[in-house]
Amino acid sequence: MPGFFSRLFKPDLGEPIIIVSGLPRSGTSMMMKMLDAAGVAIMTDAVRTADIDNPKGYYEYERVKDLEKEQDKSYIREGRGKALKVISWLLKDLPDENRYRIIFMRRDLSEVIASQNKMLKHRGEEDKSDDSLMIDAYMNHLASVRILSRKRDNFEMIEVRYDTAVKEPAEAARVVNAFLGGKFDEAKMREVVDGELYRNRKGVTT
């Protein structure tokens, strides 16, 4: 009966935190913008501002970058009922004291890497990584995220493909809104999807 008792005495973890996740350059900022437009409260400090790589802004919360290192993660609790962007690598470091509804953005890995390489160049960062090895590493990483999402009782996750969201924003908005309980403005969510920003397509690098 451990299942029964653990359910009975489960602590109240409050409203879930909506986590928008994925690899960097997989459409996480676009999803944050969709949620923002739909009326979801956003947890951001706007420290990282819009630039050539993300002309519509990043919607980030700077302190999240330290999730791996910081011991005190109690500030994450402030995100209850709000949306917070956490890249896939840091999902494992989210504290247990909250419930998380994770919208996980997926994008073709060659597109992700092309876009990341371009961003590294804009930032003046040296990149010695091999693209084909990175694809393997990311594939393993994504598999480990799926395993993690099944292991953690406080994680609920859906995957949204970036290309599908750009091509069929109404369907993406419907799926996301349903996942979040159907209480947000789907029309506004889909209106902000800007296909023009889908620049690094498979075989098309702009």
Partner: protein, 67 residues
């Protein structure tokens, strides 16, 4: 009843099972189960041991997504 509660059954494609059994035999494993358990454990380590993935970490750091 041996090992009750410690093992589970997993269904896999019959042809794949036949191939696995053949390789397990050639490779000298005592049973097909032993071989399957061995390769699955090896694969799981691959997925679970993400902390040493220096390539990903370096890339994310360069992109400004981790500190």
């Amino acid at each position: 009843m041996f090992g009750f509660g410690k093992t589970v059954n997993v269904k896999i494609d019959k042809d794949l099972h036949a191939r696995i059994a053949k390789v397990a035999d050639v490779a000298g494993y005592a049973t097909t189960e032993e071989f399957v358990q061995h390769i699955l454990e090896k694969e799981m380590l691959h997925f679970e041991d993400t902390k040493n993935d220096t390539d990903i970490r370096a890339k994310l750091k360069g992109l400004g997504y981790i500190s």
